[in-house]
């Protein structure tokens, strides 16, 4: 398959709708007109490429030059692959998160929880030739928001990925296994298929956990694959 073939459409139910009733902020920000489906051209099939030489990586968010952040140190490792299971090598991942108390290092965050002068809350990693990535951080705290009465976001780390084309651009959030807040969270539950939501949960991994150092979590990401699915292939003329 050509490396400029179009990317597959999303599997039904695997992506959120724009208008999500339980997530109040979507009410005035979701398009009311139907989307117009366009064929992917060079503009959608190709995309930017980032190199660590120009976009330096920052693989340890758990400390800054002046000291170490408060909180539970974690190692997160995983693979970025496409829908055919092929690794997505040398792609940039941007990360950002709240500190261990559930406060962002952001002027807009007025949650009454302490800031941590040793925690900036953003990182940047690149996958290796096998699509593997890894970084060190601290476990983010839960934080309140005003979507509904007593609304709390579950612990999560925000992810930004690019992949091989602009059509593979992905912004998502990684959650943590066993978080009791997941079932109440409108963003996590914005997905039509509960299995799609469950794939956003990082699993605790004792083999990634390092003695006397940090807990390990595994989180794999799948980006859109190129070309027709095998099912569609069977109906295509060659």
């Amino acid at each position: 398959m050509s490396d400029t073939a179009p990317f597959r459409p999303p599997v039904p139910g695997s992506q959120p709708e724009y208008d999500v009733k339980i997530y109040g902020s979507t009410a005035l920000r979701a398009p009311s007109q139907p989307l117009i489906r366009i064929a992917q051209s060079i503009t959608e099939r190709t995309g930017p490429h980032f190199s660590p030489a120009r976009y330096p990586s920052n693989i340890d968010i758990s400390k800054v030059a002046s000291g170490e952040a408060q909180g539970q140190r974690i190692i997160v490792e995983g693979h970025v692959r496409d829908e055919d299971g092929r690794p997505v090598p040398h792609t940039m991942i941007e990360l950002w998160q709240a500190n261990s108390c559930g406060r962002y290092h952001h002027e807009g965050d007025q949650h009454d929880a302490p800031l941590d002068q040793h925690f900036q809350g953003s990182g940047r990693v690149f996958t290796d030739e096998n699509g593997k990535y890894r970084y060190t951080s601290i476990k983010p705290g839960a934080y309140p928001w005003r979507n509904h009465h007593n609304a709390w976001r579950p612990n999560h780390i925000h992810y930004s990925l690019f992949g091989p084309g602009f059509a593979t651009r992905l912004i998502t959030q990684m959650y943590f296994e066993g978080d009791p807040l997941l079932k109440y969270d409108p963003i996590y539950n914005s997905l039509p298929d509960p299995a799609a939501a469950a794939r956003l949960i990082a699993g605790f991994d004792i083999n990634l956990t390092e003695p006397e150092w940090a807990l390990g979590y595994r989180f794999d990401v799948t980006l859109r694959g190129r070309g027709a699915t095998p099912f569609e292939d069977a109906h295509e003329e060659h």
Partner: protein
């Protein structure tokens, strides 16, 4: 078969990634027809959207050591975003029944924001360019809504396009 990971909103705190130099696509030394591309973003009630992450990607001019083709800008307190970049040239169209051989100059633009569950995809075209009538993407859009994708020049080199996420003047968004 693995299924692509779900999108989640970029939320209100994405500015932890923010680097305003990224809005200047000429910062690595690209030269050519330099333009400013700006616009104001509003929601369905006409409120300014002041927390959006706006990204652009252009397949022309081609990527080079001095031109990434990609930019990111934050919308400001007035709902305005602004990029400095190079004016694109026409590029080939998609093959197949929905495409033709040539697309008018355009730049892909996405809006990511709190309350936006997955990227909102649109394009910017340039008023007065040749090829709009034959452009395979513009041709799919009802004529009354085509102008939501066409930037106009407010002064030499400065192109403006407002973006409405919802409402009477709603921007045309794509399913890619």
């Amino acid at each position: 078969m693995p299924i692509a990971t779900a999108s989640q909103t970029i939320g209100p705190y994405w500015h932890l990634l923010r680097d305003d130099t990224w809005s200047d696509l000429t910062r690595f030394g690209a030269t050519g027809d330099v333009i400013t591309l700006q616009g104001r973003i509003t929601d369905g009630a006409g409120n300014l959207i002041t927390d959006a992450c706006v990204e652009i990607w252009q397949s022309s001019p081609p990527v080079s050591d001095v031109f990434d083709g990609f930019g990111r800008a934050a919308s400001n307190a007035e709902g305005l975003f602004s990029f400095k970049t190079l004016r694109p040239e026409p590029v080939p169209g998609a093959s197949g029944p929905m495409g033709n051989t040539r697309q008018a100059p355009h730049i892909a633009l996405t809006i990511l924001a709190r309350g936006v569950t997955k990227a909102l995809w649109t394009r910017i075209y340039f008023q007065g360019d040749a090829g709009h009538d034959e452009d395979p993407v513009l041709s799919l859009i009802p004529p009354a809504r085509r102008n939501t994708l066409i930037a106009h020049q407010t002064k030499p080199g400065v192109w403006h396009l407002d973006i409405a996420l919802q409402g009477a003047s709603e921007t045309v968004f794509f399913e890619i």
